[in-house]
């Protein structure tokens, strides 16, 4: 038993005009100051004017929005009494809009208490429209809400299926002005959603095709739009791909690249899409060592076949690294500018954070019941150790003399090798490329 949840999706060029026919009285637009300054809020309000709907704008949503921001937005909603909440922006604005909507309908509820099993009974005061201005997060169609508890510094994974938007308007014209770096970061986020939605253990028949199509679209159109941001066809296909990927992983779950990417992103302030996109090939290699079939499927879908499922999965990981490199993205922790010393010092906390991230439980090589039976303790490394070695894989990129690249020939080290080398500092001796005989997978 499972669910597939989706808003009504109005998509394609001109989709915003659907607002002209909206019925209602007052809308609260939840967004950020940048979009006000860029004129994108005015584009939306022009449509609301045509629909004769009054509006107020709450533009105080920051990146990684806090519980306090949601509380402030909810107070604005209580005063304004809208019958529509409009989340306009990237994932932060749309997640904040979802939480503001829930707490507007339920003033007794603190945003930190929004959870998947409580019956909320929403839509008594207002309904929700989501309008993405980036092509990556998929938050316009997911019910997940990520907020930051500034007191503890933790990101909270919240949400309830009821708080999925009523209408998602996916109009590519809003993404045309995205700068190149944001286009690529968010595009890699969509790619990671698509591949993890297909390969996680919570995938279903209803999400598989969506995820594969999203994967094809990103791999074809992200390079085009990275070269020419005004390529309207590529913008539209990327906007669609992000929404598809959102539907896919939002009705399955993300996986280990998100768990580890969240940890690295939070600790080193790496943009979300960049962090999860960097981790994706590493986690594919790690998981595929034990469960390669789903990754091989993805490889086949995009024309990569290497004879065996293991080889195909590895070819997929290699292809994704080349893809990221072609876009100028970092493919290792070192390339992100994080020093060995800082990474080493943070490693234990990174492992703990990844370990406690909800996304890690759907990794097909992480003792997930029903798919891959748990290993007996005497037959392999524990998940804790495996996760450590996964994260440590990036630590083991040896820095080359040039100082900007870490050689990736060392591949994955065995858990015991990770432990034995952990105390070492990189040395000239470590810089040599390693042969395949030294490339080993944990476990």
């Amino acid at each position: 038993m499972w669910y597939f949840t989706s808003p009504q999706i109005i998509f394609g060029e001109g989709a915003l005009s659907a607002l002209d026919d909206l019925k209602g009285h007052r809308a609260l637009i939840v967004t950020d100051g940048t979009l006000v300054n860029l004129g994108l809020v005015a584009v939306v309000t022009a449509h609301l004017d045509r629909a004769r709907i009054a509006y107020a704008v709450f533009d105080r949503v920051e990146p990684d929005p806090s519980l306090d921001t949601v509380r402030a937005g909810s107070a604005v909603a209580h005063n304004y009494q809208p019958d529509w909440i409009v989340g306009l922006g990237g994932g932060s604005a749309m997640d904040a809009a979802k939480a503001i909507w829930v707490t507007y309908e339920h003033p007794e509820l603190d945003p930190a208490e929004i959870n998947p099993i409580t019956e909320l009974g929403l839509r008594r005061k207002a309904r929700l429209i989501t309008i993405p201005t980036t092509s990556g997060t998929g938050a316009e169609v997911t019910w997940a809400i990520v907020l930051t508890d500034t007191a503890s510094g933790r990101k909270l994974g919240l949400g309830n299926r009821e708080n999925v938007a009523d209408i998602a308007i996916v109009d590519p014209s809003l993404a045309v002005g995205m700068p190149r770096y944001l286009t690529i970061d968010t595009g890699l986020d969509a790619l990671t959603h698509a591949i993890e939605g297909y390969t996680c253990t919570w995938h279903t028949d209803l999400t598989d095709g969506i995820c594969l199509q999203a994967t094809r679209l990103v791999l074809e159109y992200l390079p085009r739009v990275a070269v020419d941001g005004k390529d309207l066809e590529a913008r539209e296909r990327m906007h669609n791909a992000a929404t598809l990927a959102g539907l896919g992983f939002g009705n399955a779950l993300a996986s280990m690249a998100h768990a580890t990417g969240h940890a690295i992103g939070a600790r080193f302030h790496v943009p979300h899409g960049r962090a999860v996109g960097m981790m994706l090939p590493y986690t594919i290699e790690y998981i595929a060592a034990e469960a390669p079939e789903r990754f091989a499927d993805v490889g086949t879908t995009i024309g990569l076949e290497a004879g065996t499922p293991h080889a195909s999965a590895r070819a997929l990981a290699d292809h994704l690294r080349s893809f990221s490199r072609g876009l100028g993205q970092a493919t290792s922790v070192a390339e992100m500018g994080i020093s060995w010393t800082d990474y080493e010092a943070a490693l234990e906390q990174l492992v703990d954070d990844a370990f406690n991230d909800a996304s890690i439980m759907t990794a097909a090589r992480a003792r997930v019941p029903g798919h891959h039976p748990p290993r007996r303790p005497d037959r392999g490394p524990s998940l804790g150790r495996a996760s450590q070695s996964c994260l440590r894989a990036c630590l083991h990129r040896r820095q080359r003399a040039g100082g900007t690249l870490y050689a990736r020939h060392s591949g994955w080290a065995r858990a015991d090798q990770c432990r034995s080398t952990r105390a070492r500092q990189p040395s000239d001796a470590d810089d040599r490329p390693r042969g395949r005989h030294e490339r080993a997978f944990c476990g």
Binding site: M1, W2, Y3, A112, E113, N115, P116, I117, T118, G157, L158, T201, W202, D352, F355, N356, A358, I360, M361, A366, R367, V368, P369, G370, P373, P374, R376, P377, S382, L383, G384, R385
Partner: protein
Amino acid sequence: MAIPFPSDSWIKALSAHLNGSESYQRSAANWEGDFTFVVEPDAAYADTSYLYLALNHGKSAGGRALNVPDEVVTEYTIRAPYGTWRKVVEGKLDPIQGLMTKQLKLQGNMMMIMRYPKAAQEIIACTKLIPTEFPG
């Protein structure tokens, strides 16, 4: 020798396996809160059983079958028909998915459980180490 589920000896075996699991200890290092598992009757199982499991900071101080549900007051109670529990123990139903789809009904703070999904899975991993005999 197989241990019947649900039973006092089964929950004691689970408690012992948790204390031997490095993965569980790490994933539940900050967890505080005991559980009562209520096994409700269905076509394959005629009784109602109550299993108590003490969990604190990655360790289990013990477990036992209860004669009456309020013999011990716990922070969390999860109840489901026997057939649903069997699916969980056999690894056919992810416990978090079970909670989200309300096949497993929770009394207690769901948000706390959602912060320790891996610990929930490690508990299930330990149940699979118990040679379990299922009635019906």
